[in-house]
């Protein structure tokens, strides 16, 4: 298989997903979701194995580590906003991370999930680059984690407006924190569309909730 086939297919599929969303204007048509479905459909239709596709595509994944490092750049730019609203930001994100771990633990108990599935779901609300690492360290199934992270992001992105109206969350700062803490980078895409403060706070939440989850996961993962 050609080395650049997987890389080209992945990027082309994402660009097509963005074009499709713009063309049809449906919020449900998340470009990432479209791209993943398109890649799978293409490979199935052309009888190309995932291993052949991944021969080249894996090199894009290797860039996730330096990309995570670069999350420091938006974080640095927003340090002023963070300092000004430190208490609201800190309590909002911390309670969100706790709510995530608690709700996943309780539902994992109710559904009688095995340890491996429980820890795969634990990092579902944080950005993939950090979430994959958390899942791996805790002994989860990384693919399952990535799918739950992407589903979480897309769901958060789509549902945010209706849910904020329903729960009467009105301030831009709270909306941004909620989107970033619950639905990481994909939720942040929606927050950026809502406004500057929403986008800034959501970007900040990606890094902070990611780091808090890294700290909390080893403790919480041992519970089940």
């Amino acid at each position: 298989m050609f080395l650049y086939f997987g890389m080209f297919l992945s990027i082309a599929a994402y660009l097509f997903g963005m074009w499709l969303k713009k063309k049809l204007g449906w919020a449900v048509l998340n470009p990432l979701l479209s791209a993943v479905l398109l890649v799978i459909a293409f490979l199935k239709a052309a009888h190309i194995s995932y291993a052949d596709y991944n021969t080249g595509a894996q090199y894009i994944s290797y860039l996730l580590t330096p990309a995570t490092v670069c999350l420091a750049i938006p974080l640095y730019k927003q340090l002023g906003l963070l300092k000004k609203n430190f208490v609201a930001v800190a309590l909002g994100i911390t309670s969100g991370v706790a709510a995530s771990a608690a709700s996943i633990f309780v539902m994992a108990l109710l559904f009688k999930l095995e340890h491996v599935h429980y820890v795969s779901l634990l990092p579902k609300s944080i950005t993939t680059a950090i979430g994959m690492g958390v899942s791996e360290e805790a002994g989860g199934i990384v693919t399952l984690t990535v799918i739950s992270i992407i589903l979480t992001g897309i769901f958060g992105n789509i549902i945010a407006d209706a849910w904020f109206a329903f729960t009467r969350i009105k301030s831009p700062l709270a909306k941004g924190l909620a989107l970033g803490t619950a639905a990481h980078a994909i939720g942040t895409a929606r927050a950026l569309e809502m406004g500057e403060v929403e986008g800034a706070m959501s970007s900040l939440s990606i890094a902070v909730s990611g780091l808090l989850t890294v700290a909390v996961a080893p403790v919480v993962s041992g519970l089940l």
């Binding site: 994402y14 995530s100 301030s171 619950a182």
Partner: protein, 119 residues
């Protein structure tokens, strides 16, 4: 040259993150060590934003595409997912709404308290 220097800095910090990950017995991914390191370098003034923000912007722009290979890997583990499909989807959706509500309401309560204090 501008890009080469930026790539050298970012890859250098990433490498330092990988070394820390190998040396320290903490469950922290290499990228997170690197994130902290880059933030510290920016805050201390040893690096300025123009030293990293062009290549950094490129990497952040490409970030969604970096998730596609792992997500497309689902086609290999479809059977694995099918076994846990209902709890998996329920937990994902319910927990997302719960986190959104708790974070938003808590932040809003703090902001409201701050405003009333100021009166």
């Amino acid at each position: 040259m501008k890009y080469m220097k930026e790539i050298a800095i970012i890859f250098g910090v990433t490498l330092a993150g990988e070394i820390l990950h190998a040396l320290l017995p903490l469950p922290v991914p290499a990228g997170v060590y690197g994130l902290f390191l880059l933030l510290a370098l920016l805050c201390s003034g040893r690096l300025r934003l123009p030293d990293v923000e062009h290549v950094g912007g490129l990497l952040l722009d490409l970030m969604p595409v970096m998730f596609i290979p792992a997500a497309a890997g689902l086609m290999e583990s479809a059977a694995e997912l099918r076994a846990v499909l209902v709890p998996f989807l329920t937990i994902t959706f319910v927990s997302t709404l719960f986190v959104m509500t708790v974070t938003g309401r808590v932040a809003e309560a703090v902001l409201k308290g701050k405003k009333e204090e100021g009166r």
